[in-house]
Symmetry: C2
Subunit: 471 residues, 2 copies
Amino acid sequence: MKTLARELKAILGQAGVIDDPTRLVPYESDGLALYATRPELVLLPRDTDQAARAMAVLARHGTPVVARGAGTGLAGGATPVENGVLISTARMRDILEVDPEDRFARVQAGVVNTQLSEVCRGHGLMYAPDPSSQMACTIGGNVANNSGGPHCFKYGATSRHVLGLVLVTHAGEVIDLSGPWVDPQGLDLVGLFVGSEGTFGLATEVTVKLVPRPPVVEVLLAIFTELEAACDAVSEIIAARLQPSALEILDRLTIEAVEQSVFAAGYPKEAEAVLLIELEGVETEVSGSQQEISAILNKHGVLSTRSARDASERRDLWAGRKGAFGAMGRIAPDLYVADAVVPRTKLRALVRRTVEICRERNLKLANVFHAGDGNLHPNICYDRRDPDEVRRVLEAGRLILETCVEAGGSLTGEHGVGLEKREEMEIAFAPEDLETMCRVRDAWDPDRRMNPGKLLPMRACMELRTPSPRA
Amino acid sequence: MKTLARELKAILGQAGVIDDPTRLVPYESDGLALYATRPELVLLPRDTDQAARAMAVLARHGTPVVARGAGTGLAGGATPVENGVLISTARMRDILEVDPEDRFARVQAGVVNTQLSEVCRGHGLMYAPDPSSQMACTIGGNVANNSGGPHCFKYGATSRHVLGLVLVTHAGEVIDLSGPWVDPQGLDLVGLFVGSEGTFGLATEVTVKLVPRPPVVEVLLAIFTELEAACDAVSEIIAARLQPSALEILDRLTIEAVEQSVFAAGYPKEAEAVLLIELEGVETEVSGSQQEISAILNKHGVLSTRSARDASERRDLWAGRKGAFGAMGRIAPDLYVADAVVPRTKLRALVRRTVEICRERNLKLANVFHAGDGNLHPNICYDRRDPDEVRRVLEAGRLILETCVEAGGSLTGEHGVGLEKREEMEIAFAPEDLETMCRVRDAWDPDRRMNPGKLLPMRACMELRTPSPRA
């Protein structure tokens, strides 16, 4: 490892290689604190060229490599591996190009999500995907996980917004697919790479689509005395073909946590659910939709509705939602955020089942969810120092996922599979599906050194037959 | 081949295997008539099970396989190969499931594009991608080519609408990825398969997203006396952040052809360009956009504008566009349809360059294009019995593609690469990009029996180094 560090310092400089054990500690985990492994080294390349040269050295040494953006991931995708190095994109923060006419931007992978939208604001444009962690998380991390966010109900997740990539392969080769193509041509390698969770290689530059900021944005905040009524209102809004840009629900325990925190939003005591609805578009469209939605909310017994049109009032209404995860720190020291997606028509039934699963195990459950997408985020609040509680949390997590997949849902809406749901992939996929995924992964990284042990279940890859000989 | 035919008839029945040479003739080409090869057999499975059993037999015999939908493709993707069989989806036309609540449909691969939208009409839903050949082309063919159409400016091409697939691999294994997932989980095999042009395996069932039909649809038809003015109007409509659902331009020669055909639309004699604009949405939104667009059209010297709101009038305005390809048969017996995409801001300059390239070679060029997407369709009208003209057509086609790629465009917007643009992939991609594509393809079909010789340039695949040994 000493020789390796020396070789890498020659490429990245002293400041580009962390080998001091105490400075390695913050890199042991990502947002899924249940898992921790100390990396041998942390590398901080400044650009594609440095990253490629470093990767070539790592290939020569046969060293496993894990990439890390801001480490805000919730599924352990950036957890280091034994005897491996971590490549952080923290020094790759340049916005390389903004083209307001053709509406794209080319950025280094370490650019922070909100930073990009801020830079484009003057052109009346924005980068649409907005994960809750958008103040910290990076575009490269978003690419790895195909990240979502509240506004992805309207705009689609990251894969809909990535036009091009510059990649460094396991061997240190550079693949330049950065052209902002309107349409993919040939095999869609860019689309395939998005969501591959670092198992194919390292993305160093990302070309993204920018979208126009809407002329009018209105936020409605509706208070319900029953969670089910809020779910039903969401189903009816969608059935009526209204197209809000976001539909978010917070449940009782989340509301309590928010009210006790600095994000206190003044929700009434009897609130069992808060439904946040954002509408975008031209003036008349927003007003028209607003009226139709109000009628639906009333039909489902809404207690009260507030609305906001100016930026600062909108921020107030969103504050409770955006601060929800932070506020849950008041309930218990640790938080397990599940990420299942269910058909929107089954939202009500599956939220209820989730509540039961946690109640049966005496677990504190706070629900915050992207209701429009059917993306549940059951947040189980727990204390990782209590081994029995940890066991019950993991059991409930698995049961919730199984229930959602059985109902026609997905294992993950936006957090990725990572370490956390690797084995659960066997619930969602048949062996031949997983085998095909392993083959595709091997096409990129035949030595399996890139983020090993993530995304795909161990068994499926171990059992993969060797490919048939070429004709 | 006789043994093979006998084995296949045992699975597919007499009617499921065509081996009579005269009945094989119609299958020699797809829409790119420049290339023709007679298949040894044509297979017509009825479902996934029959297709899988047939594919297993073909694997045992080592027979190359080409899949064919309706054969309307324009890039030779369904051209048979020497000593190979063709699998047609013509008997796989069942709509298996329509779920209006969760807004998806599950269909056999041979279902015709418009048939699906017709079936969903009663639910107020539609399948959005609408290739010009939509009366004939199949959903399976659309998947292979990631097909587009006029409305893909708003809705995105096929890949945005495919939620799941059932696939038969080269070996006859079935991979069921048909769950209508809101979000991809694990590696996005479905997204990767879309646009793989039959080189990965055979899609037998497709799960697609359905979208709500808009409440109001208005079509504007604007006549210009200069093609450049129409291009400029399109650029300004987009820059103004208006979002029409379609923006189509027809040029002079196209207009002449249309006017002489059964699709005659009554365009004035002095028309040098026709711009079709479709607006969708709620009433107030459509009216508002209409006013803003009229102002832009006037600014660019529009000669006249007609508009239509009811279905039959709209159909009249669209008739010229939809009939354009057919009408060109009046200009010359053969038509070479290029399919390059350019950045929308360079539309005007590249249209002009395209016109020059054809004029220099004394070729008749008719332009019909998805202007909103920057998707040029230069249609070169020629006679394939004239070898020198054929040579000039191919030269012009290649030069147009090179020019567009140089300007930051793509080789293909919606027709795919097929046979036609296989070698041109080397213009757009570096050797390491193509090598990665070959590796990914080999992960699906290590024997390279599925649609061999299509999509990827021969050289790149031949030169592919053997994968490094697994660690």
